[in-house]
């Protein structure tokens, strides 16, 4: 980031708090550690439509951790780039596996009431914009040293250092919500203590606006990246109780499935090459031949996979 950009917001968040902050396209959000190791839980909404929000689950499909040059993706069927992580130090371990810490879990583990959970802190921060605890979504975890094994995830000591900074460039107007992770004082997630964090928003300049435009254009080219105009229902439901709309008729995509029988001829010698795979790659010869066809297609014609992810590849 160019050093000359002015911080229009510069604040320190004390434990245990957070802040909902509009960050406009081309602006950069910086979250930094003031005194050292502190787990930060982050939410992100489209500032102009709160039903579009960061989908940690879909970011997780790319890898279990976020990092430099990775996107904050919104929830499908929109799946649009909301922000781009432009800087993250090695001492910041990010995590896309762990859901927000619950006060219930802390109460159950320590038998102490009044320990806040992720939802408690997040709902206080979101309230300024009329959002509730139920609008909070799974967080992007910053400075959370998770590991995983055959059972699940576990946390190791927080490796964050004072001065560590994560920068995220807004690619659309967003409501960014960093919070100090609740329960850090009872967990290795904060090395058993709370510490303040610093939040800054740097104004855009021609370079940052140009970069945001380029990233947006490069990563919104898929026809299946839907917008609200594509939705069958566009209105947000107000009633809490669910009742059936009797005259509703869904329009499922690619429905019904229409199967076509295709005759394929092989010599007996060719079939003898195929048959050893029968059973593990298909119960019938037809299933086996289709499976082999797809193995070939995936290896020879599939454009790319998320494991080989890069924004340019994904949207090429």
């Amino acid at each position: 980031m160019t050093a000359a950009r002015k911080a229009r917001i510069d604040m320190v968040l004390e434990p245990v708090s957070g802040k909902a902050i509009p960050v406009m396209k081309g602006e950069t959000l910086r979250i930094s550690l003031v005194e050292g190791a502190q787990h930060v839980e982050f939410n992100c909404f489209n500032l102009n439509d709160h039903k579009e929000y960061m989908s940690v689950g879909h970011m997780r499909r790319e890898a279990f951790r976020a990092g430099p040059d990775r996107m904050i993706w919104s929830n499908p069927p929109r799946y649009r780039p909301m922000m781009k992580i432009v800087a993250m130090p090695d001492s910041c371990s990010s995590d896309l596996l762990v859901a927000g810490g619950m006060s219930q879990m802390l109460e159950a583990q320590f038998d102490i009431e009044g320990l806040p959970g992720f939802e408690d802190t997040m709902q206080q921060a979101l309230g300024e914009y009329g959002l509730t605890a139920e609008d909070a979504h799974d967080p992007l975890n910053l400075w959370l040293n998770t590991e995983w094994d055959h059972i699940g995830t576990f946390v190791t000591a927080n490796s964050g250092r004072a001065g560590d900074a994560v920068d995220m460039l807004a690619l659309m107007d967003v409501l960014a919500v960093p919070t100090i992770a609740a329960g850090s004082n009872f967990s290795l997630s904060g090395n058993f203590s709370y510490k303040p964090i610093r939040v800054q928003v740097f104004e855009s300049d021609p370079e940052s606006r140009g970069r945001a435009d380029r990233e947006w254009m490069a990563n919104t080219t898929l026809k299946t990246q839907r917008t609200l105009d594509d939705y069958k229902l566009k209105d947000i439901r107000e009633e809490r109780a669910l009742t059936s709309a009797g005259d509703y008729r869904p329009d499922y995509v690619n429905y019904p499935i229409e199967l076509k029988d295709i005759d394929v001829f092989f010599t007996s010698g060719e079939l003898q090459q195929i048959w050893p795979m029968r059973g593990r790659m298909g119960a019938t010869d037809g299933e086996l031949v289709r499976t082999l066809f797809f193995h070939w297609y995936v290896e020879n014609r599939k454009k790319h996979g998320l494991r080989l992810y890069s924004p340019q590849q994904l949207h090429a």
């Binding site: 499935i257 229409e258 295709i262 001829f265 010698g269 090459q273």
Partner: protein, 66 residues
């Protein structure tokens, strides 16, 4: 003539039919390959040639991960 026909039958490999089901989305991949022109024109011909190419690529190791 009869002897010639008999000789052809002895030389030509016996072909066995395998019926494969593709749905409408899967058949679009056949359309892509048809447009390439490398694997044939008919659906069955394309599938057959693709499977044979797969076996050729993999050899004895055929049957790995997709």
């Amino acid at each position: 003539m009869a002897n010639s026909k008999m000789a052809d039958d002895m030389i030509a490999p016996r072909m066995a039919k395998v019926t494969v089901q593709f749905d409408q989305q899967q058949r679009r991949l056949l359309d892509f390959l048809r447009s390439e022109g490398t694997f044939g024109r008919e659906d069955g011909e394309i599938i057959r040639n693709v499977v044979l190419d797969y076996l050729k690529q993999k050899g004895p190791a055929a049957g790995g991960k997709a």
